[in-house]
Symmetry: C2
Subunit: 467 residues, 2 copies
């Protein structure tokens, strides 16, 4: 990170006045009272610019480059690793007014959007066409398509549809040079030289600002059935999920697993009925779709009955109404419940190859226990793609030594097993140590070279991913 000459938020606000007709400038006054999103420091820059066109973004970036002013891109500010935190002297570049759904192509199942459209707004725009996004996540109301591209977001459907990178057919961005990079293909098959839009996906705003995207979408499969099952372990849970994935008349829509402490404490807090659950087992939430809701329910019940003995299921319950299905989902999606008891609980988001999950969770339990003080974790996540969310049952921030020990316990063995220390949240400010420790040094060096080439003055989201 190089240092930049610092202009005050008020200086910046006046300097930008009149730069481009499609730029709205919000100074310190205008930002008062605005919700900062997931991180209280997101608005610390005190200046936010909201462009309404790609050309306006390019004008702003060129100005920032000429004046060596750093840019912090912001979408829905729902990120959990500090990737949108800003400081005085920087400019927040917000996608809030780049919020148009530009074209829906129902026959092709594609859509073209500006980067600031929220996932929920896009789903609402698609719904009349019988379509929906191929990616879904809990923060759908605030997360933007551009922010999801910048962090290569994953969510609930990744096991079947892949992650954001797999949804993106075309992309336009403004590079740190101020040039507009335009690769708005609307087709899945392209082999026409290096696919450099991939650099803009998952690089957390460090290589450019995404302005426009073309995405694959998919038909809504509205006829659903939802079940909660007690499973002895992830391995047996995966076996149930694999069976449903191979079913000719059912589609698996979600396989979300919650380990016992998460289940117990959440149920106690929210009075979820667990009378059906045996032996304090982990709980697997399954959702399937079929030709009708009744068919889905009947077939799901039949499949579960057939695999019951083999998978050693520890009780189960199939939702008999959409209300009940919603309550099952609350148990999984309202996952922040533990922050009430443990404010700022250290939280992690890792991927492990699914067949390694049981060993990983057992090892994690032992490693946390070895740290002392009866340290435990809430563990839950997307079992079919191996993405675990982990929150330590302790108020944060932890003292430095404890923090380091906990991180070592969480990340132990992940790289050698083929997993990732960050599955869908990114690196941001929070995961620097993990990035420096667990990413292949050759890959780190290459990332630094590309950063230096694209953004020699380190003006794009400085200090986030450690280049």
């Amino acid at each position: 990170m190089s240092s930049h000459p610092t202009l005050s938020p008020l200086d910046l606000t006046s300097a930008l006045d009149g730069l481009h007709p499609d730029l709205r400038i919000l100074g310190p006054e205008a930002l008062i009272g605005r919700h900062p999103g997931e991180d209280p420091a997101n608005l610390d820059a005190g200046v936010m610019v909201q462009p309404a066109s790609t050309e306006a973004v390019a004008a702003l970036v060129s100005w920032c480059r000429a004046n060596r002013v750093a840019i912090v891109p912001q979408g829905g500010v729902s990120g959990l690793v500090g990737g949108s935190v800003s400081h005085a002297g920087e400019i927040i570049l917000s996608s809030a007014r780049l919020n148009r759904v530009l074209a829906i192509h129902p026959d092709e199942e594609t859509v073209e959007v500006e980067a600031g459209v929220t996932l929920e707004a896009l789903q609402a725009a698609l719904e009349p066409h019988g379509l929906t996004t191929g990616i879904d996540l809990g923060s759908r109301g605030s997360a933007t398509i551009g922010g999801m591209a910048a962090t290569n977001a994953g969510g609930i459907l990744a096991f079947r549809n892949g992650v954001m990178r797999h949804q993106i057919l075309g992309l336009e961005a403004v590079l740190p040079s101020g040039e507009i990079f335009s690769d708005l293909t609307r087709v899945v098959k392209v082999s026409a030289g290096p696919d450099l839009k991939q650099l803009l996906i998952g690089s957390e705003g460090a290589f450019g600002f995404v302005t426009r995207l073309v995405l694959k979408v998919e038909p809504i499969r509205p006829h659903r059935a939802v079940a909660l099952l007690g499973v002895p372990d992830a391995s047996r849970g995966l076996r149930v999920a694999a069976r449903l994935r191979r079913h000719g008349a059912l589609q698996l829509e979600a396989a979300e697993m919650m380990w016992p402490r998460y289940v117990r404490d959440h149920a106690a807090l929210k009075r979820f009925d667990l009378s059906w659950l045996e032996n304090d087992a982990p709980v697997l939430l399954l959702e399937v779709s079929g030709e009708t809701a009744e068919a889905a329910t009947t077939l799901l019940e039949a499949e579960l009955a057939e695999i019951w003995e083999e998978a050693e299921l520890q009780g189960g319950i199939v939702a008999q109404s959409s209300d009940q299905a919603r309550r099952f989902w609350d148990m999984r999606e309202d996952s922040g419940f533990y922050f009430a008891a443990f404010p700022n609980a250290p939280s992690f988001d890792v991927s492990m190859p699914p067949s390694a999950l049981d060993d990983y969770v057992a090892g994690l339990t032992d490693r946390l226990n070895a740290i002392g003080d009866g340290l435990e974790a809430y563990v839950y996540g997307h079992i079919a793609d191996g993405n675990l969310h982990i929150a330590i049952a302790a108020a944060g921030p932890l003292p430095f030594d404890r923090k380091t020990a906990v991180e070592a316990a969480v990340y132990d063995g992940i790289r050698t097993s083929g997993g990732s220390f960050s599955a869908e949240h990114g690196v941001g400010l929070e995961k620097h140590a993990a990035y420096l420790t667990h990413v292949d040094p050759v890959k780190q060096a290459l990332a630094r070279q590309i950063k230096a080439m694209l953004d020699p003055d380190t003006l794009f989201n400085p200090g986030k991913v450690p280049f």
Copy 2:
């Protein structure tokens, strides 16, 4: 492209002797009589090195870098754009001995392979586990996984599974620096900084040599039904395909369309029965899977009957045996039949957004006609993803002016419509003009910068993609 000091094939053969125990060196003598693959010039270098380990690749690359000798990577040499052509003074780096399937994880539906494994060998290794690759293409017997990564191959299943880029979870490569880039994640969800393995996918060996990959695979769906339909146009064909994609108990496995001249000439040559086809209509080949072959056939017939009027189908026939299904497929997969009548017929491989296909094909017909001499094209391809293969019914190579006019006719409007001048074959030697004309100049400049950064001496596959 910089120039390199030229060593003769024999000099190179002796110089490499003993460099690393895992390197097999084949000199000019050893290459005599070897089939060059799709391009007669593939073996012109006269020296082929076959490493059996990543370390041996790294040793070779370091030696080449020190001695400024260029490297031409080769997999199955089934490419159609000259991407593997070599010259005296260069070394062919073959993946032939990197041919191990390293690990199959049936519960996770992932596999780890060396780059030289052929698609067919991988399919055979997966079959006992009830699994197969999520990508399939006609040249499966020779195409290697590494070559398919380097060209971001597509094939028959891209409309549902995406292309090679979407199958790859992890990748190891040797960079032009001689360093080993290792990102062998085995998970779909990774948001841990820029995903630089994407640079190695689809860059045709210009940025490094892929040695090892982790891929997603998927369950075999063995119970199939196949039909041939007459359709008035692509739009109606897409409607039929879309209906089948939304069917709860059927999965669409292929939707391949052949336009009339292709159908007519191929049927005349191979005596395909077209008595069921009305009005010289384009033909759509559909394949679906279901719970049993009988169920798939019955449901497919019922769906076609229901949409018959609306889609204005022009006759149709559902295969009553696997033999008959195979004959239907021969009509599509044995597509090189026209080379007998038109040797070296100029051929193209474009993507268009599926809803723009009819306008494109009509425009193409007019534009070719305007060139004169009754110029016509064979058109066929993967309708659901918009990938058309086009061969001009004229012997090649064409005189320069005619070639330029034909290329302009084929590529007209593709970029502005959101398509691609190369869908799955790459750029290689054959598509330089198209690359320079139809790729965003900002993207071209960025590709040049990255090439210069990674391979400052232009040693990796020089002269292919024009950097």
